[in-house]
């Protein structure tokens, strides 16, 4: 029925998007010239056979279209090729590094969501009060403070000056905190997650507050109050869920934004994630890795958008399906 068809439509559209991105990406990479040159350039005295072997290995023979289809076919088999620099299967690297990225991004979004809900409710229910003003001002500052600058400041304060938080990496190489790998991992997450939370929280709060202020003015809120429902239920039960509808789009964008700027975040905190991997791949012109990472980031983004669309359906019965 409607919902299923709607989701099917979105899925197909998402697929088209991914294919489109893959074509653009491929064209871009190929505009630079045959990667094999870069790959083999530093190997003087190399033989024809060896070039042949490596060409075979990376599927780089044939015309551009041939190569594209070879590549796509490989992608479909989840075979992203082998990293030139690391000599590892790209798919494996993407999973390991991707998980590290998600490990900071997802908690950051979730925490930011909870915090900003509380703050926005606090502000929106006291519109024009000092609290409200403070929240807006704070959120505005946070919204304008670039994440990486904040990260730098956090490192300066917490790692350099106070020396209480690690500023680099996701794990201690040895001697994990309290001897527990779990505690150690969380310990390392504090700063990057903290930075992302602050950054997201600011923007989310700005949006959520204004959405909430709008919703709180609506007739059905007055109606709920006039029915004698306690304020808490009116705000949390009736207003918040409605206020979330416009914010939902942003959540999708947020996810994209975080993945998109993961290179910066992960550079600042030397986080072993997809972003850092991407930077490395670009620096070193590790084509299979660049293509793989971009594709994965795109797929994640498209998935986030798709999930947002589906979330709309779940949260708002008015969305016209089909």
């Amino acid at each position: 029925m409607g919902t299923a068809r709607y989701i099917a439509r979105r899925l197909i559209f998402s697929l088209c998007l991914i294919i489109g991105v893959s074509i653009i990406l491929f064209t871009m990479i190929n505009a630079i010239g045959n990667p094999i040159e870069v790959l083999l350039a530093e190997r003087p005295g190399i033989t024809e056979e060896m070039i042949q072997a490596v060409t075979e290995y990376y599927g780089l023979h044939g015309s551009v279209t041939d190569r594209y289809f070879t590549w796509i076919w490989a992608l479909l088999r989840l075979d992203f090729g082998t990293s030139i620099i690391y000599n590892l299967p790209v798919s494996e690297m993407l999973v390991t590094y991707g998980l590290e990225t998600l490990k900071i991004q997802v908690p950051a979004i979730l925490i930011a969501l909870c915090v900003s809900v509380l703050i926005s409710v606090l502000a929106a229910t006291r519109q024009y009060s000092r609290v409200d003003f403070g929240v807006i001002a704070g959120a505005m500052v946070g919204h304008s403070l670039p994440g990486f600058l904040l990260g730098i400041i956090l490192i300066l304060v917490f790692s350099y000056t106070l020396g209480i938080l690690p500023s680099y990496g996701a794990y201690s190489t040895r001697n994990p905190l309290w001897g527990s790998d779990m505690a150690d991992a969380l310990w390392h997450m504090v700063l990057p997650v903290g930075m992302l939370v602050f950054f997201n929280c600011a923007t989310l709060t700005l949006l959520l507050r204004s959405s909430l202020v709008d919703v709180l003015r609506q007739d059905f809120i007055t109606a709920a109050r006039a029915s004698g429902l306690p304020e808490r239920r009116v705000v949390f039960g009736h207003a918040l869920r409605n206020a979330f509808i416009p914010v939902l789009t942003y959540l999708g964008i947020l996810f994209g934004l975080m993945l998109g700027t993961a290179p910066v975040t992960e550079t600042v905190f030397t986080w072993p994630g997809l972003g850092a991997l991407y930077i490395m791949a670009i620096q070193q012109l590790d084509y299979p890795l660049i293509m793989g990472a971009t594709m994965v980031i795109t797929v994640m983004l498209v998935t986030a958008t798709l999930l947002t669309d589906i979330a709309y359906v779940a949260i708002d019965p008015r969305i016209r399906l089909g």
């Binding site: 005295g45 056979e49 060896m50 590892l88 590094y97 680099y168 794990y171 190489t173 620096q283």
Partner: protein, 548 residues
């Protein structure tokens, strides 16, 4: 006034300090009338350009100039392995097309003179000719500055490819009992962990602890060779015939015994073009062909060199790690680079005698450390102590990690948080040394065998061959002379003293020629620092025919 000519300067973007002096160098060049187009690029952009081997200038797909840090592959300076006109790419590593009869002659003498005094004279001739024509602008000799965990004792060497590497078998971490864990930071991810493919310390930091060489250096201090897998050798008077006796009862990590066949296998693979080892050409120069050596006993190998070459002992025996025949011979040449033995990512079975298999997690060597593979989350290569090592460990480290950390800041905060004990010299922590507190970091400095330079494509018509300079056009015979004037002009425009003091944090010496500043071969009387003098620069340019 319009600029005299255009020069494309590529500045590798992996080292902020170098980017800074690169920018400064570009500015200084433009101050004397050169139109400099500088760009920050990763080394991967530079290498294919320079290894095309056709000497084209930058605008035609080749290159004009770039910044580089360089060192010889052996502790004895071996300019003959780099700057001989014979070694032009693609088969050699004279990427700069240094092509000077006097230099060639000196280099040949360096390589083939057995007599130490004669060789010393050859070094001097090389240095003098270089100092006069300056085929490259040597900016300075950096010192290696390494901050270590104050509790770490026995760290008395800097890494130097591939001869020195962190040798944690001699480390003692105070107060850590008998099975301490140590960690070492390495800047760049390795390309391949098969020794013959090594590109520099990003690789040798990791594979080094696993393998042995036939001869090894005793210490960084005295830089003397001592027997490693070889026990001793004999050399004929003409320096051509060598008999090498190997150490018996040495076992590979798999449990197999080390024999002369492994040495032969190692040299065979290096020379075999199908494996595509970049050192192949140099090895061929030294050994000639696979015909020149024979296994003459289980622990003996006899070599007939085409002619004496200092590189044989100092480089091939002293710097090239021996790899196991039983473990690697089954790997097809084309997939050697992608094999687990090269990536250390995964496991593979090594057949050993008795029809059994040994499960390897990385490279198989005879060395003091057994590879445990790569942990991608920690970005670390893990090693455990080889309890059956032929030489006892002198420290208390049982588990060892090499961690991939990029960035000076990161490495220092890692040291501060106790995550690492030491790091490789790539980090250039010199300028930040003052921020290291004794409570968490001890700064150690080492004289290094490297130099930082601006290198030129010497086939460039202006500053390479000089045919396109005013003087060169006017008098083709003096073209080379004109090009040298231009290079000297650039050289005099470089504020070396300031670069060392302000950018390198004072850790270095002003540069002149590509010979290690502290080596015996460096003639301090001859090689006076090149002064920073823009007037002189202009004068040289005028001599090349340019008018202000």
């Amino acid at each position: 006034a319009p600029p005299f000519f255009r020069l494309y300067l590529m500045i590798p973007n992996n080292q902020p300090a170098r980017m800074i002096w690169g920018t400064l160098a570009a500015q200084q060049m433009s101050r004397i009338g050169i139109d400099v187009v500088s760009s920050f690029v990763p080394f991967t952009v530079i290498s294919p350009r320079r290894s095309r081997g056709d000497g084209k200038p930058h605008a035609e797909g080749g290159w004009d100039a770039y910044l580089e840090r360089y060192y010889y592959n052996a502790i004895q300076p071996t300019p003959n392995s780099l700057f001989h006109s014979r070694l032009a790419p693609p088969s050699g590593q004279n990427f700069y097309y240094v092509n000077d009869a006097q230099i060639d002659d000196a280099l040949d003498r360096i390589g083939n003179t057995i007599d130490p005094a004669g060789r010393q004279a050859a070094y001097r001739d090389f240095a003098k000719r270089w100092y006069d024509t300056e085929p490259m602008t040597i900016l300075f000799y950096p010192k290696d500055v390494i901050a270590v965990n104050p509790k770490l004792k026995g760290f008395d060497t800097t890494t130097f490819n591939p001869v020195f590497f962190p040798n944690p078998e001699s480390w003692t971490i105070e107060g850590a009992g008998n099975d301490a864990t140590a960690a070492f930071a390495s800047w760049a991810p390795p390309m391949s962990l098969i020794p013959m493919y090594s590109n520099g310390y990003s690789d040798s930091n990791i594979f080094g602890p696993v393998y042995n060489r036939l001869y090894e250096y005793e210490s960084w201090e005295n830089k003397r060779l001592q027997p490693g897998l070889a026990l001793s050798h004999t050399m004929s008077d003409d320096g051509k015939r060598w008999v090498i006796t190997l150490r018996p009862n040495v076992r590979w990590h798999s449990g197999e015994e080390f024999t002369a066949e492994d040495v032969k296998f190692t040299w065979d693979t290096i020379l075999n073009k199908a494996y595509g080892a970049p050192i192949s050409a140099t090895a061929e120069q030294v050994l000639g062909s696979t015909e020149s050596y024979r296994v003459t006993g289980k622990y003996e190998i006899t070599v007939e060199l085409p002619k004496y070459d200092m590189l044989f002992l100092d480089w091939l025996l002293g710097a090239q790690a021996i790899i196991p025949k039983h473990a690697y011979e089954r790997i097809p040449p084309a997939s050697m680079r992608g094999h687990v033995a090269s990536t250390w990512n995964g496991r593979y079975q090594v057949p050993i005698s008795g029809g059994r298999n040994y499960t390897a997690l990385g490279g198989v060597g005879t060395g003091p450390w057994i590879a445990q593979g790569y942990d991608p989350q920690r970005r670390a290569y893990k090693f455990v102590r080889n309890e059956n090592y032929w030489k006892p460990h002198t420290g208390n480290v049982k588990t060892f990690y090499v961690v991939n950390i990029q960035g000076t800041d990161s490495v220092l905060s890692a040291l501060r948080s106790g995550a690492i004990d030491a790091h490789d010299p790539m980090y250039d922590i010199g300028p930040l040394a003052e921020t290291i507190e004794p409570s968490w970091g001890k700064v150690q400095t080492f004289d290094s065998f490297k130099w930082q330079h601006i290198c030129y494509n010497l086939r460039h018509p202006v500053f390479g061959t000089g045919v396109d300079t005013p003087l060169g056009r006017q008098d083709p015979a003096r073209a080379a002379e004109a090009a040298a004037y231009i290079r000297k002009a650039i050289s005099h425009a470089m504020p070396r003293e300031q670069i060392v003091k302000e950018i390198a944090g004072g850790y270095g010496e002003q540069g002149t020629v590509p010979l290690p500043f502290t080596s015996e071969q460096y003639d301090h009387d001859l090689l006076k620092p090149i002064e920073y003098d823009l007037a002189k620069s202009r004068e040289y340019l005028e001599r090349a025919g340019y008018r202000y």
